[in-house]
C-alpha cells in the first residue's frame, strides 16, 4: 500500500493557473459580455455543487445497499463532498448577482403583468428562493458530514444517516432543479425535469469519480487497492447511466413533441432554432452515442485509459447539457440570438475545475486515503466480475 496523499506540485500549479485563468475570464468577461459570465458562473456552481453532492450520494447508496465495490476508493467520494460549501457559496453569488440576467421572474413588471408569473410569485420570489437555496445546501452539508463521520468511524448509525440523506436528497434535489434551472423559463414546466437533472447528475458524478480514481491510481496512491475489476464497475455505471440519461432525454422530448401544446413546445422551439439545434443534438452525441458505442464491449469497460477518455467526454457533455438547459432563454432575454460560447465559458469552466481539484485534494490529504477501517474494504479488494 502507498504513502499518504499529497497533491503533486505540478498538478497544484496547473490547478492554480486554471483558477487564475477563471478569475481573469470573470473580470474581463464583466467588461465585455456580463451575460456570458453570469451564465458560466451559474453553470459552474451547479456543475461542481452536483459533483460534490454526488460524493455523499454514492456513499449513502453504498451504505444502504451494504455494497463492497465502493469501499476501496470510498475516500475519493468523501473528498468530493468537501466542495459542497464553496459550491453553495458560489451558487448564492451567481444566482443573486445574476438574478436579473438569469431569472425573468425577478423583473417586477414582468412578474406583475403576466398572469402566470403573478400566480407563481408566491413561490418564485428572491427571499424565498434564497431561503430554499440555503436550506438545501445546508441540509446537504450537515447530512454529508454526519454520514461521512459515521462511515469513517464505522458507527452503527451509518445506515440510518444514509437513509435520511437519501430521502432528504430526493426532495431537495428535485426542488433545487426546479429553482436553479427550470425557473429560468418560468412559463414552461416539465414534470420529468427533476429526474432528467438527476440522470445528468449521476453520469457526471461517476465520470468525476472515475477520473479521480484514474489519476490517483496512475500516480500510485491506490496501488494494490484498485484493479481492472473496479474499473469495470465504474465503466458499467458510466455505460448504464449514460443510457439512462438518454432514456429520460427522449422521454421528455417525446411527450412534448407528441402532444404539441404551445406552452410546452416553446422549450424545444428555442433549442432547435437559431443555430442552437446543432448544440442540442451534439449534446445527445457526447452524452450518449459516444459512451454507448465505446463502452459496449467488456474489454473497454476494463481499460482505464478508455474510461478516462469517456469520462472526459461525459464531463464536457454534462457542461453542454447544462448550457443547453440554461443559456438559450437567458440569451433570448438579453436579445442575443444563437449560442455564444467563447473564452469566457472556457476560462470560467476551467477555473471552477481547478478550484474543485484544489479543494478536494486538500480534503483528501487531511484524512486517510485508503479506508482500511471499512468492514467491506477487504471484500472490496477482491472483487471479480
Amino acid at each position: 500500500m502507498s504513502s499518504s496523499f499529497q497533491l503533486p506540485t505540478k498538478y497544484r500549479n496547473w490547478a492554480l493557473t486554471l483558477v487564475g485563468a477563471g478569475i481573469l475570464s470573470t473580470v474581463l468577461g464583466f467588461i465585455f459580455s456580463p451575460t456570458n459570465v453570469w451564465i458560466s458562473l451559474h453553470i459552474g456552481a451547479i456543475y461542481f455543487l452536483s459533483a460534490a453532492l454526488f460524493g455523499s450520494f454514492i456513499i449513502a447508496v453504498a451504505e444502504v445497499s451494504s455494497a463492497a465495490w465502493l469501499a476501496p476508493y470510498k475516500s475519493v467520494a468523501e473528498c468530493m463532498t468537501s466542495f459542497l460549501v464553496p459550491g453553495g457559496v458560489l451558487l448564492i453569488v451567481s444566482s443573486l448577482g445574476g438574478a436579473h440576467t438569469l431569472f425573468e421572474w425577478t423583473h417586477a413588471e414582468a412578474a406583475l403583468h403576466h398572469p402566470v408569473l403573478a400566480e407563481k410569485q408566491a413561490y418564485l420570489n428572491i427571499p424565498f428562493f434564497l431561503t430554499r437555496l440555503i436550506v438545501f445546501v445546508g441540509l446537504w452539508v450537515w447530512l454529508s458530514q454526519k454520514l461521512i463521520k459515521a462511515s469513517r468511524n464505522q458507527s452503527p448509525n451509518r445506515v440510518k444517516w444514509a437513509v435520511i440523506f437519501l430521502v432528504v436528497f430526493a426532495f431537495t434535489f428535485s426542488f433545487a432543479s426546479f429553482d436553479w434551472i427550470m425557473s429560468i423559463e418560468p412559463h414552461w414546466y416539465s414534470t420529468i425535469f427533476a429526474l432528467y437533472c438527476f440522470s445528468g447528475f449521476f453520469v457526471a458524478g461517476v465520470s468525476c469519480l472515475t477520473i479521480a480514481v484514474f489519476v490517483l491510481d496512475k500516480r500510485g496512491f491506490l496501488s494494490g487497492v484498485i484493479n481492472e475489476n473496479h474499473y469495470h464497475d465504474l465503466g458499467k455505471f458510466l455505460f448504464g447511466f449514460s443510457t439512462f440519461w438518454a432514456y429520460i432525454w427522449l422521454s421528455q422530448y417525446l411527450l412534448i413533441w407528441y402532444t404539441n401544446i404551445p406552452e410546452e413546445t416553446t422549450y424545444y422551439l428555442l433549442r432547435t432554432h437559431n443555430d442552437w439545434d446543432w448544440l442540442f443534438y451534439f449534446n445527445l452525441v457526447l452524452n450518449w452515442i459516444i459512451p454507448f458505442f465505446v463502452l459496449m464491449p467488456r474489454a473497454m469497460k476494463r481499460n482505464r485509459e478508455v474510461l478516462l477518455r469517456v469520462g472526459i467526454c461525459l464531463l464536457i457533455g454534462r457542461w453542454l447539457d447544462l448550457f443547453v438547459l440554461i443559456a438559450p432563454k437567458v440569451f433570448e432575454s438579453s436579445k442575443v440570438t444563437g449560442p455564444s460560447i467563447g473564452w469566457v465559458e472556457v476560462g470560467i469552466g476551467l477555473g471552477f475545475g481547478g478550484f474543485f481539484v484544489l479543494v478536494c485534494a486538500a480534503a483528501l490529504a487531511k484524512h486517510r486515503h485508503i479506508p482500511k477501517e471499512d468492514v467491506y474494504f477487504e471484500e472490496g479488494l477482491h472483487l471479480t466480475q
Binding site: 427522449l250 422530448y253 417525446l254 407528441y258 404539441n260 459496449m296 467488456r298 472483487l383 471479480t384 466480475q385
Partner: protein, 174 residues
C-alpha cells in the same frame, strides 16, 4: 469409451474456490464445478474461455433495431400513409419506443434460444449433476482422471487435504 471422473464436495464457495485454485496450481485441471449460486471468479479458475453469447446478442439486437425501424417507416409512410396529428408520415421520435422494445426483445429471446441450443438444454431435461444438494448447499467439483494424470489414491489424498468432505468416483460412457 469410458472416462473416469472424481467428484468432490466442499462446505462452501470459498473452500471450493481455494481448492480449485490449488488443483490448477498443481497442474490438475477441473472439468466442471457445480454450485447452488454463481461464484465470482470461478470461470477464470476453471480456465473457461469467455462466452461468445454477447456477440449473438449484439447481432440479434441490431437486426431487431433496424428491422423494426424499417417496418414502422414502411407501414406508416409507404404502404398505408396515415396522417396522425399533422405530423410527418415518417416521424422518427414516435418510432423510437417500439424500436427500442424490439431491439431488447429480439436480443433477449435470441440469446436465450441460442444459449439453450448450444448447451443442448431444454425444459424437462434430466439434470446432469453429481448430487441433488448442488441446488441447495452443495459445492462440487469434477476432475477427470486422464486430465489429472495422477494416481487416484494421490488425487483422493490431495482432495482430502484441500477439505473435500465427500469424494466419489464414477465411470461415464461417452
Amino acid at each position: 469409451m469410458v472416462r473416469a471422473i472424481t467428484y468432490a464436495s466442499f462446505s462452501d464457495d470459498k473452500s471450493l474456490l481455494h481448492a480449485a485454485k490449488e488443483l490448477r496450481g498443481r497442474g490438475i485441471s477441473l472439468i466442471d464445478a457445480y454450485t447452488p449460486f454463481p461464484v465470482h471468479g470461478l470461470d477464470e479458475v476453471l480456465g473457461e474461455p469467455r462466452s461468445r453469447l454477447p456477440i449473438v446478442c449484439f447481432v440479434a439486437a441490431s437486426i431487431g433495431c433496424v428491422a423494426s425501424m424499417w417496418f414502422q417507416i414502411w407501414t406508416s409512410a409507404q404502404d398505408w400513409p396515415i396522417n396522425v396529428g399533422g405530423k410527418p408520415f415518417a416521424s422518427i421520435p414516435a418510432f423510437i419506443p417500439v424500436t427500442f422494445e424490439v431491439t431488447v426483445l429480439l436480443g433477449g429471446l435470441v440469446s436465450v434460444a441460442v444459449f439453450f441450443f448450444r448447451n443442448r438444454l431444454f425444459p424437462g431435461k434430466a439434470a446432469v449433476i453429481p448430487d441433488r444438494n448442488v441446488t441447495s448447499d452443495g459445492f462440487w467439483i469434477a476432475v477427470e482422471h486422464q486430465a489429472a494424470k495422477v494416481d487416484s489414491a494421490v488425487l483422493n489424498r490431495t482432495l482430502q487435504d484441500l477439505g473435500a468432505s465427500h469424494i466419489r468416483h464414477e465411470e461415464q460412457e461417452i
